[in-house]
């Protein structure tokens, strides 16, 4: 490939990544959407909250928030897993927020929102190190604790490796190899607003930086595997009957449609 072809090559990558991004987004949204639909449609025929459980819906919301934000059960169980998990997930959210800057044109939003996006940047930048630390901790546990090795399959390690690839390429790009942020944002905004004609113009193409290509490829892969993997824990936790049911079995009957059909229909 001669240097003169490089532009053509970036044209190719631009198209390739734009298309992959659409495909991955579709798979992610439809896949997770389908799973959520499936969880919603599947009845929980019996009251099975792990007690002591809240007596009201408001109480359940609090219980759920404590689980989702603070990983309360995990904290009771094992402080090491909790620590690494908190660091990893906390950093992940901050980093996700930081990435909003690639998807929002400041002209689309009112200023205070944009100001928040600006405000989060330095935090997001250093959160990447926290995320890597958390991931390495989780990986070390998985590798070195015998019980963890026993319950892990290849996909469990690979998931951590994939996230590490995302994190390492991101950090390298931020701090060492660099990329053209403005050009990348122009690319990303064109992708999400379907302005494909822009890709003819080099100012809207993927910047030709290998680290960026790696970073995005890994992210796209993550989006694709999400609905088919254990990453379903993110939506799944909200559907866990052990955690989301109100403890009111004596006060309220709780009969599933299939149970009514099977046992009670003739009587009604």
């Amino acid at each position: 490939m001669g240097g003169g072809n490089k532009e053509a090559l970036m044209g190719f990558w631009t198209t390739f990544y734009a298309l992959s991004f659409y495909v991955a987004t579709l798979i992610l949204i439809l896949g997770v959407g389908y799973k959520i639909y499936q969880y919603t449609k599947t009845p929980a025929p019996l009251k099975i909250p792990t007690t002591p459980a809240p007596l009201t819906t408001g109480g359940v919301v609090i219980r759920m928030l404590l689980e989702v934000i603070l990983f309360k059960s995990l904290f009771r169980s094992n402080k090491w897993i909790w620590l690494f998990a908190m660091i990893f997930h906390g950093a992940l959210w901050v980093i996700l927020l930081r990435h909003l800057r690639y998807f929002i044109d400041p002209q689309w939003v009112i200023y205070p929102i944009w100001e928040l996006v600006e405000l989060i940047q330095p935090f997001g930048k250093y959160a990447s190190f926290a995320m890597l630390f958390g991931l390495l901790g989780l990986l070390a546990r998985r590798l070195f604790v015998e019980r963890m090795r026993y319950i892990s399959s290849a996909s469990d390690y690979l998931m951590l490796v994939l996230l590490l690839v995302i994190g390492v390429s991101g950090v390298l790009m931020s701090f060492v190899t660099r990329t053209d942020i403005v050009q990348f944002k122009a690319f990303m905004l064109s992708v999400i607003s379907f302005q494909w004609q822009n890709f003819e113009l080099s100012a809207y193409q993927m910047p030709p930086d290998s680290m960026l290509l790696v970073h995005l490829a890994a992210v796209i892969l993550l989006m694709i595997v999400f609905p088919f993997s254990k990453l379903l824990h993110a939506p799944g936790v909200f559907f866990s009957p052990g955690r989301n049911q109100v403890d009111n079995a004596r006060e309220k009957r709780h009969v599933a449609p299939w149970a009514i059909k099977q046992f009670e229909a003739p009587q009604t």
Binding site: K35, Q38, Y39, T42, P43, A44, P45, L46, K47, I48, T50, T51, P52, A53, P54, L55, E67, F71, S73, L74, R76, S77, N78, I81, A85, R142, V145, E146, R147, M148, Y150, I151, S152, S153, A154, S155, D156, V225, F228, S229, K230, L232, H233, G236, V237, S240, P241, G242, R243, D247, A249, R250, K252, R253, H254, V255, W258, A259, Q262, F263
Partner: protein, 499 residues
């Protein structure tokens, strides 16, 4: 003490997480159910020829019926939080007794047949074919789970291995590979009316004998009524209370409480069993059928209230499922919880000052209390979350001067199962039962050393039977196990309320 073909685990000087020993409990196996029992529960008599197909179809059916199963099979991230929480893993070191290890037996098959990743890349995601070895692993290891829910407390998603075990057992039943112990008992309930197979006349005899005993001992006519139409309360004890020690002393205690309350009550020969093994085999249908007897008895005897005796999983089915399975109970008195636990009943009377209790009657006992797993983690008593921990303790403290709790990570919702719940209370499983009791025995040892505790009270028929059998392996005496209502019965001062 029975002759053991295995070694009783040593007390651990400090709590260490056991190293794993794959396969050590592989051959721990309860007897397979017989054709007749299978059929009377609505299952094929023996393993069907196309069991693989039937099993997969059954799993598919359950996935559409139980959200718990679907969500729990999908969401586990293999974080390892639950790995050291199961008493059977602590006692046996077999990694398939780690909650996630146990779940994975079913999850691997789920992934292979029901997920894209498992269909395309089975090796990568640890998906496995349903082979005969796998089916046997299901049978063996899902009958080494007492469905105690301890794992669900610590799982970040509340994944409850009990739900997985129930589903697996239902699949096993559906292919004709049920467990004898559970299915035989359910058959007895259908044919005779209770788990022990005591016919009505035998129960009547026993109760009359007990009434005489009480009369001899106290000089008071405490009645233990059976099948008395028009009583206010239908009382449903576990059938072990009719004659097994130490259960039966609990029954005498209930009788004295009812006697003092002045509330008319009756037991029923039709519903002479609180326990409901339909839950253990994960069968909604059988659980419902067993539950319906209680509704029928309540209607027949025209009672206004239902009260349950001391039985752990029975209280779970009663508290959490009865209304759903056999309700609505419009014909009962809505001012009282439907159903009510005997501890709630007694506690209310104590609160109202309606019982005169002489604590010194229990002064020769230094008591601790074992929270039964299903009561602790699947039910409630009273009107506040956690009442299931407070109320029995308050009842005990009202009757005893010396009460001491075991270490805090072994009580309340962190309680350890006795080791014999969930359909494991059978002799073939003695090894897993003894080993599974280890954490509870360690906790008991601790209060024995620290506070010279002499008795462990509990409110579950299975706990009582299991403990009396296994405590000798750990150097305790079977007489140290006691019913909460025996403490009540011994402390109660009879007749003060009578005019």
């Amino acid at each position: 003490m029975a002759k053991a073909k295995f070694e009783t685990p040593e007390f651990r000087p400090y709590p260490v997480i056991p190293v794993i020993k794959p396969g050590v409990m592989k051959d721990s196996r309860s007897f397979v159910s017989k054709p007749g029992m299978q059929e009377s529960l609505g299952y094929p008599g023996e393993l069907v020829d196309n069991w693989q197909e039937v099993a997969i179809n059954k799993l598919g059916e359950l996935l559409t019926k139980y959200r718990s199963l679907r969500v729990y099979l999908d969401t586990c991230v293999k974080c390892g939080s639950c790995t050291d929480k199961c008493h059977y893993f602590i006692g046996t070191n077999d990694p398939k007794n780690m909650p996630v290890g146990r779940q994975d037996l079913l999850r691997q098959v789920y992934r292979r047949y029901f997920t894209l990743a498992g269909k395309l890349f089975p090796k990568l995601v640890g998906a496995k074919d349903l082979t005969r070895d796998m089916l046997d692993d299901w049978y063996n290891y899902f009958h080494q789970c007492s469905q105690c829910r301890r794992c669900s407390v610590y799982c970040p998603y509340g994944i409850d291995t009990a739900e997985i075990s129930m589903a697996a057992r239902e699949i096993l039943d559906a292919v004709g590979y049920g467990q004898k112990y559970c299915n035989e008992i359910i058959e007895k309930v259908y044919k005779i009316g209770n788990n022990l197979g005591l016919p009505g006349p035998a129960i009547r005899n026993t109760l009359e004998g007990l009434e005489e005993d009480i009369k001899d001992e106290t000089g008071v006519d405490v009645r233990l009524p059976l099948d008395e139409e028009g009583a206010e309360v239908l009382f449903v004890p576990p059938s072990a209370d009719f004659f097994v020690e130490p259960h039966v002393d609990g029954l005498i205690g209930y009788g004295k409480v009812f006697h003092q309350s002045g509330i008319s009550w009756t037991m029923s020969s039709h519903a002479s069993e609180a326990g409901n093994f339909g839950m253990f085999i994960g069968s909604y249908e059988n659980m419902r059928r067993v539950s319906m007897r209680i509704r029928e008895a309540a209607l027949d005897l025209k009672v206004k209230r239902i009260v349950f005796g001391e039985c752990g999983h029975a209280w779970r089915v009663a508290y959490a499922f009865l209304n759903t399975l056999a309700g609505p109970f419009d014909f009962l008195d809505k001012r009282y919880p439907i159903p009510q636990h005997i501890c709630e009943f007694t506690y209310d009377l104590i609160q109202k000052g309606a019982l005169k209790l002489d604590k010194s009657a229990n002064d020769h006992r230094r008591v601790t209390y074992h929270d039964s797993c299903n009561v602790a983690r699947a039910t409630r008593m009273g009107h506040k979350p956690g009442g299931q921990f407070v109320i029995p303790r308050e009842v005990i403290k009202a009757c005893c001067n010396h009460f001491y709790d075991m270490p805090s990570d072994t009580i309340y919702d962190e309680t350890y199962c006795c080791g014999g719940g969930g359909g494991l209370l059978t002799d073939e499983l003695m090894e897993v039962r003894v080993k599974g009791a280890l954490p509870r025995m360690e906790a008991l040892k601790q209060v024995t050393d620290d506070h010279q505790v002499t008795h462990m009270a509990t409110i579950c028929a299975i706990c009582k039977s299991q403990f009396t059998k296994v405590v000798p392996y750990y150097g305790f005496d079977m007489d140290q196990i006691i019913s909460v209502h025996q403490l009540v019965g011994d402390a109660i001062v009879l007749n003060v309320n009578e005019v």
